[in-house]
């Protein structure tokens, strides 16, 4: 065969593989693979190729469908017609027009933290920790709209966030979402009088 000299592996378009594919050859997937793919060589998912699991290779080129994480040691190219549902990670990533991606995409030098975690941290500081939130510059933009309405006082600018300490600590719990705080402490009728009598 002409191909026997090369280390090329082809999963033909009529083929279906259920299970792991590992090794160090160049892999060309035109069929269906349901299982993890780990190769050291180049990996191509052709137009008719479908992979329903994670895959990783040196240089990964996707023209077909992938449902799983795509990891490239060197690069990942998502060409026209590619459909990827999963995370994409590689030092270099190219997404061509016509390629569809749903997932987290990260190239080298983009930092370790996911943007989702910072957004979540911002939400918790504004919602659950209003007293401490005035220190955060990100939260100050939301405050001026809330504070005047709750206090019924003079409108304040965003720059006031750091200066007016007492007002913010007092007003912020009102701005908190959820059920309003109890107005009267839960004491039985006549309990206050009983306390006074004891003294």
């Amino acid at each position: 065969m002409a191909t026997s000299s090369h280390d090329v592996t082809v999963i033909g378009r009529g083929a279906r593989v259920r299970g792991r594919i590992t090794g160090s050859a160049t892999l060309d997937i035109q069929g269906l693979v349901d299982g993890e793919i780990l190769v050291d060589g180049d990996l191509t998912v052709g137009e008719t190729g479908m992979v329903a699991s994670d895959l990783s290779g040196r240089r990964v080129v996707v023209r077909g469908a992938v449902k799983g994480n795509v990891t490239g040691e060197e690069s990942v190219h998502l060409e026209d017609g590619a459909k990827v549902v999963g995370d994409v990670r590689a030092p270099r990533i190219a997404i061509a027009p016509g390629a569809l991606v749903r997932g987290f995409v990260q190239t080298a030098g983009a930092g370790a933290a996911r943007p989702r975690t910072t957004a979540a941290a911002k939400a918790t500081t504004t919602a659950t920790r209003p007293a401490a939130a005035h220190a955060a510059s990100t939260a100050s933009a939301a405050k001026p709209a809330v504070v005047p309405a709750a206090r019924g006082s003079v409108p304040r600018g965003a720059t006031l966030a750091g200066t007016n300490h007492a007002n913010h600590t007092g007003a912020a719990p009102v701005a908190k979402k959820g059920p309003p705080p109890p107005i009267v402490p839960a004491l039985k009728k006549g309990a206050k009088g009983a306390l006074a009598k004891k003294r």
Binding site: M1, T9, V10, G12, G19, R20, I21
Partner: protein
């Protein structure tokens, strides 16, 4: 050119199902179901039950073989397992252990 090629250096653990022909130069563990021809080249290792059309073995097959067509064991082939096929040839120099079931 075979439509599905398991190249040397590649290992597939699991089930391969295809309605086309398969060329094995690497390693396959599990099951190999092909409707068309299967060729296990020299250096190819199949540790699986194989079903398909005409089967040519120059490498190693451990597992039962069932073919709708002929099975050819080439010199250097090593087959351990039962073989069921319409016609079977075993070349001089091929190693084989197992039952043979031909349509008589």
């Amino acid at each position: 050119m075979a439509s599905t090629i398991i190249g040397a250096g590649i290992t597939i653990e699991g089930e391969i199902t295809t309605d086309e022909d398969v060329l094995v130069q690497g390693t396959v563990r599990g099951k190999l179901n092909a409707k068309d021809g299967v060729v296990v080249e020299h250096g190819g290792v199949v540790e699986a039950d194989v079903t398909g059309g005409p089967l040519t073995v120059s490498g190693s097959v451990t597992g039962n073989i069932s073919s709708t067509d002929r099975v050819d064991l080439q010199p250097g082939a090593r087959v351990v397992g039962n073989v069921k096929a319409t016609r079977i040839t075993i070349a001089d120099g091929a190693q084989f252990k197992g039952n043979v079931d031909m349509d008589v």
